[in-house]
């Protein structure tokens, strides 16, 4: 340690090297994104996504990739120590490979730090989910609830904590059920243009308002169903990225935060999402953004539950507190509006591939920035994902094409 970087003029403090070291996404691949993928094991599904990602990036995983990150949780997989199965399909066997038991976006943040540290040049991040392999989904969710204060109540639907948040949010901001339905209808329709959106449809606000409740105040249209999917992304340092591609998508900043552990769910600030706010601020700081107003081209934000899209926009500073539903009314968040949100259709039309959810949002932003960066005044996207319920961890990434 203490030696100078060969590319730096002698006398320049070493401290500057990684600070200047930018991180880019140079390739991405996906597979699945269907309600069920019965023909493939989760390993084969991941392999398909990995092949596409490495082809996109133009790298050989056995030669060029320095480390591999896999994002998954044991109980989702039905295997204790599920990381046993992580290395082979992504080309990480006998290589530096590890698991993040968290959202794919948290895995992306790990890769970002690994590259920033200066020790790694190319890192692959993988996340996958096969909810269709789970027979007792409610039983699995039950295990996530505090065994003393919540689980014994035998709540009829373990996703109910989202309902508690939704009611608190609506009461605080004055957003109505119509606004929630507008979010769901818009996302379900936008998804019709997305090959990954299995749950898209020509749904109207009236259809939604007329549907029976799932968890008050939301209907089944407003709660994202589950999907089988795998996503792999390849991240690289600036030098490596320039070598590999002409149009890298830069990871300008990342942030992540846990508000309360699942052992203290009661202490959550209901109707808010402080973890999302903290993650956003962290990511903005890393990206050098003081205020996101006017600094962002589009956003892919959390919408597992319809109200979450509005709440996310507020917590991320993309809408004033209690303003998101008003901006929604004026079309600010529609394609072509002030800030297009969830043009991919969001998770409401793509579904929830468990831990791959955040990485999938990054994938959508990456593809859009790569193909259509010129559509935006500022070719920069905010990607935000929340892990819950019942956890209160969020992760945010700022991606840019410049």
């Amino acid at each position: 340690m203490g030696a100078t970087h060969p590319n730096i003029v002698v006398g320049t403090p070493i401290t500057w090297v990684p600070l200047m070291r930018r991180v880019a996404i140079v390739g991405a691949g996906w597979a699945g994104f269907r309600p069920q993928v019965p023909e493939l094991s989760f390993r084969e599904l991941v392999f398909e996504a990995a092949q596409r990602a490495y082809e996109d990036a133009g790298v050989d995983p056995r030669e060029d990739v320095d480390a591999f990150v896999s994002c998954q949780e044991d109980y989702w997989e039905g295997i204790a120590i599920a990381d046993e199965f992580a290395p082979e399909p992504i080309g990480g066997a006998l290589r530096p490979t590890y698991t993040v038991a968290g959202d794919g976006l948290q895995g992306l943040a790990q890769a970002y730090m690994m590259i920033k540290s200066g020790a790694f040049d190319i890192v692959a991040v993988e996340s996958h989910a096969k909810p269709s392999d789970i027979v007792t989904l409610d039983g699995i969710y039950d295990l996530a609830l505090d065994p003393h204060t919540i689980r014994p109540l035998r709540a009829a639907n373990p996703l109910f904590t989202a309902g508690l948040d939704a009611v608190a949010y609506m009461s605080r901001t004055g957003a109505s059920r119509v606004h929630l339905a507008m979010v769901a209808a818009a996302n379900k329709r936008m998804g019709l243009h997305n090959p990954r959106a299995s749950y898209a449809g020509r749904v109207t606000v009236d259809d939604i308002l007329g549907a029976p409740y799932y968890i008050y105040p939301m209907t089944r249209y407003e709660v994202a169903p589950f999907a089988d999917a795998a996503v792999v992304m390849v991240l690289a340092s600036e030098e490596a990225a320039r070598r590999l591609t002409d149009n890298p998508v830069w990871v300008e900043g990342v942030g992540w935060s846990t508000e309360v552990g699942t052992g203290a769910v009661e202490y959550h600030k209901w109707g808010h999402m402080p973890s999302l706010k903290a993650a956003g601020l962290m990511a903005y700081r890393a990206a050098g953004i003081d205020s996101p107003t006017g600094e962002v081209g589009f956003a892919e934000v959390e919408d597992r539950f319809s109200f979450m899209e509005l709440l996310s926009l507020e917590e991320l500073g993309l809408a004033g507190e209690g303003e998101a539903h008003k901006m929604l009314e004026t079309g600010d968040f529609s394609p072509g509006g002030y800030l297009p949100v969830n043009q991919s259709g969001g998770s409401l039309s793509v579904g929830v591939p468990f831990e791959a959810l955040g990485l999938w949002r990054a994938l959508e932003a990456y593809l859009e920035l790569r193909e259509h960066a010129d559509k935006y005044d500022v070719p920069r996207a905010i990607v935000a994902s929340w892990r819950g319920p019942p956890t209160y961890t969020s992760a945010v990434a700022v991606l840019g094409a410049q």
Binding site: F68, A80, P96, A101, M114, A144, A264, T393
Partner: protein, 391 residues
Amino acid sequence: MRTNIFVKDRVAVVGAGLTLFRRRLQETPRELAWEAARQALESAGLTFDDIDCIVTGTAPDAFDGLHFNGEYIADAGGFGKPTVRVYVGGGTGVFVPVAAWWHAASGLCDTVLAVAEEKMSPAHPHPQGVFAYIWDPILERPLGPNLIWIFAMEMRRYMYKCGAAKETIAKVSVKNKRNALDHPAAQAAANITVEDVLNSELLVWPVNRLDISPVSDGAAAVILARENEARRITDSPVWVEGIGFTLDNTHWYNRELAFPRYVNYAARMAYKMAGIERPWKEIDVAEPYDPFDYKELHHIEGLMLARPCEAPKLLEEGWFDRSGELPTSPSGGLLGVGNPIAAAGLMKVAEIFWQLRYEAGPRQVKKPVHYGVAQAWGDLMQAGTVIVLGN
């Protein structure tokens, strides 16, 4: 992977703490993690406010019986902080500070709390049952395996390849349980003989009960800081000189079991980063992972602290005793202190930290120490995680 001349910031360990390791603790997993964090912070003269980021580690969720177990203990270092749980099975304990290293080395966090927790006692009728679920659900689980099988098979292969006798291997258990007598957190410290090991209950030949570490609850924590911060906190920081980790393929029965190449690759990565070329000479104290007694020898060879098949001979010569040439598991290891899986690995890192600060009290090794290595293993004979510390 590049060598550390490209790394911006040196990162140091500045504090470490433990809870008791016991079969049944009253604390919830979340409380255990917090207690360990508190011990670490107090020993470093810090408060929870001083922590920027948290890295947590727990091994299989199926022990604690908590889905998202990382989320359950996530606030143990204070609410509202960047928290992530990393995971490589049994190797998690050493991997937690490895991940914490890049949190600090990247410049994103100044101080990082690395905390690992495990509570094995909630699973009934016996925590051993949980291990059934780490096998391949289609090709291995239907054979009704017990996890000890895989260790026994590896141990048998190692004995066969290296001509190591059960009597020799048992000496690891004797040494570690004796070392643990000086550890206040220890669960299985004892003064036993080789005969005691050989005469204990035969579980899976060649494994007897005293060849194995016990079922434990417990937590451990260390605090890492960037150079400037570390120098402010303490005048004797212990530097993270090298990190290494490797995950081998899933099919352990498609590989030679006598030599742990996954540990070897991880060790090479860590030594390369630390600039260590002759680990058998340059490493002064080691904490190889020892859930089973033969595993310590196996891992010593993987860590290149002995040549393949040489460790049993060196053990006989007293090479690995606290007063020896290269003391291993001076803490008492998992065999002596206990094995709350993820926490046990981090306990090993903490022990190297105390050894390098000359703070290990009665456990302090006799020789002067400059470099120490801690290592953990995990999964189906797959994961090797290594951290090299220096003072």
